[in-house]
Amino acid sequence: MENDQDKVLDEVTSGEYKYGFVTDIETDVIPAGLNEDVVRLISSKKEEPEWLLEFRLKAFRHWQTMKMPQWANLKIPEIHYQDIIFYAAPRQKIAPSSLSDVDPELLRTFDKLGIPLEEQKHLTGVAVDAVMDSISVKTTFRETLAEMGIIFCSFSEAVKEHPTLVQKYLASVVPHTDNFFATLNSAVFSDGSFCYIPKGVRCPMELSTYFRINASNTGQFERTLLIADEESYVSYLEGCTAPMRDENQLHAAVVEIVAERGAEVKYSTVQNWYPGDKEGKGGIFNFVTKRGLCKGDDSKISWTQVETGSAVTWKYPSCILRGDNSIGEFYSVAVTNNHQQADTGTKMIHIGKNTRSTIVSKGISAGFGQNSYRGLVKVLKKAQGARNFSQCDSLLLGDKCGAHTFPYIEVDNPSAIVEHEATTSRIGEDQIFYCNQRGISTEDAIGLIVNGYAREVINKLPMEFAVEAQKLLQISLEGSVG
């Protein structure tokens, strides 16, 4: 068994990252390094208005006074910011008006990633914004959505076409001073998606952004802003991949969500950045700030994430429950295999009355992977009747990996009910054998068991992506029982 499993483990972990190819395309790159001129250059390349440049500069100046946070349970080698390229764009018109303006090589790339940009080819009911390196390549179904008043476009276009909306909401949830990586993002963010759902509109299709890092030595700093006006609904999904490279690449994104009264936003992530090789060489540093504001009464924001990629993940999608009766949810599966590390979780800040939050976190560690859950449930004085339920489970495959849980609970209102449950389990040899005895191979058995373990979270994903996520889980873990 030992030997067999080792063999399977070897096979599976020897670089089976499916998305590790590089697209050979002419890229507009600025010199490496970061200073005020670079910030100005990025802004001018994007032909931005003055107020946005001011915002960037303010952030940059603040960032220079900050230090990288050390509190996470992560071992991160020093990042040399002067060696990073902060802007790289496939050479093409910033906003191609039709598909024929998009470089065929780019179309082929996204095709290969399973994200065809031709609308008729795409999964029905999913609109995609495809972002490569620093810019958005193409947004599908824009016109169809526009008929309902829904704005779905790249962030750069939104700045041009809907400046008042952007100005009103940008940094309203994640201020430019928020944290080291969010502040860095505020200074140098390149592209991302922008979405606005008007009052009373139920968005009829899944909106999604697909992020692709292609150029080497670059960082990716996308910024996404999602606004759900009163009584509206939207389900949003993001996916990400990157080529296999020996050096680490930095990805520091910011996502802000605003839900007005009665609005509901479902935000799902399938994160599959290149995790590095078996020895822990290369891979993406994924330092992301995601936060949603339940601004109005009866609003709801739900985060679902399946995190299988990245060398290091540092990410805490959070909800600020300001409106009365507002609801925040966080469903997470995080996988760390080989030498991957993840420190991830959420913050639920209860401000309004009768606010409710649910946290379901499923960590899966294999190889030498280290997986930490870090979560804060904070109930403020006025949050009469607030409720939280947290469930944090860890699954260990093998004995060289680790799982850690750091729950923080701060309650200032005596009527609040906060519950926390945690479990740790292992996949047993006897479970695998039971499957084997029914004709199921060890690899498939692990897939079944892991997907069973993660089912509660996977079920929260939109149908089309649940299947994809299941496969991804299996691929990232196959054979790793020792």
Binding site: F433, C435, Q437, I440, S441, T442, D444, L448, G452
Partner: protein, 265 residues
């Protein structure tokens, strides 16, 4: 020469943690035959099931096992299962979060793939589930749950027989499937086994009690004692054991072992 045995075990020796458990075991099973294996606790009955199904806790040190003329010991556990060897576990395992439906569908389709057949359609699969559930009188609610999770002891045993019904094995090993069952469940499980069996299905029933053999009538009864089959006879042997216990077997076995060792000297 045509080999008309489904399973042939010759001089099998196997150890767990370097302790010899099976000490030269012989057994031959023809298609369609029912064999009962009885014997005191710790005599090696479950170890035999482990060896036959390829569980690695037991290491084979000597002897051969052939299944339909092929060397069984060279096959992986899943390959043996796909070839039609089924074990009803003495202690079925719980797999939280994995639905019975998903589990069974995966198992069946692996078996079909092995035989070069296409996967079952969802509707055909569900039809078979329904049909087999009725056969073994298992509650629908159970098959809607995760594999064995929170099942009572008796429910787990029934679930094993349900899986056997779904997989239609060539050789079924029932390791104390009767223990922990109430009278009704015993009847249902035993009749289930009879209904599932096709004329060429062979069964090895491991049990401590005659009562199961009232329903599943064996062609041969063997007594496994201290890693060897020390006595084989027809169904009457089970009745005799029920009456007399194992003491007389023990004495006989010891005498023969002694005479053997004396003979060596």
């Amino acid at each position: 020469m045509k080999n008309d045995f489904l399973l042939q075990i010759k001089e099998l020796k196997a150890s767990i943690d370097n302790k010899e458990i099976l000490k030269g075991l012989n057994l031959e099973v023809k298609p369609g035959e029912i064999h009962a294996i009885m014997g005191p606790n710790g005599s090696g009955k479950s170890t035999l099931a482990s060896v036959l199904t390829g569980r690695e806790i037991a290491t084979v040190t000597h002897g051969t096992v052939t299944f339909e003329g092929r060397n069984l010991l060279e096959m992986s556990p899943e390959e043996r299962a796909r070839e039609g060897i089924f074990l009803s576990f003495q202690y079925p395992i719980e797999i939280p979060g994995v639905s019975m439906v998903n589990f069974m569908k995966t198992a069946i389709n692996e078996q079909r793939k092995h035989r070069g057949q296409d996967p079952l359609s969802a509707s055909e699969f569900l039809r078979q589930m329904r049909e087999k559930k009725e056969l073994v009188e298992i509650d629908s609610a159970l098959t809607n749950r995760s594999v064995n999770e929170g099942f009572s002891g008796g429910e787990k045993k029934k679930n094993e027989i349900f899986q056997m019904a779904m997989l239609e094995p060539r050789l079924a090993l029932l390791d104390e499937t009767d223990s922990g069952l109430d009278i009704d469940a015993l009847r249902i499980v035993a009749n289930g086994v009879n209904k599932i069996r096709r004329p060429d299905t062979s069964v090895i029933v491991i049990t401590h009690y005659q009562r199961l053999l009232d329903y599943i009538v064996p062609d041969h009864v063997h007594v496994l004692y201290d890693g060897r089959i020390v006595r084989s006879a027809g169904p009457e042997l089970a009745l005799e054991l029920e009456e007399r216990g194992y003491d007389w077997i023990r004495k006989e076995a010891e005498v023969s072992a002694e005479s053997w060792t004396t003979g060596q000297k």
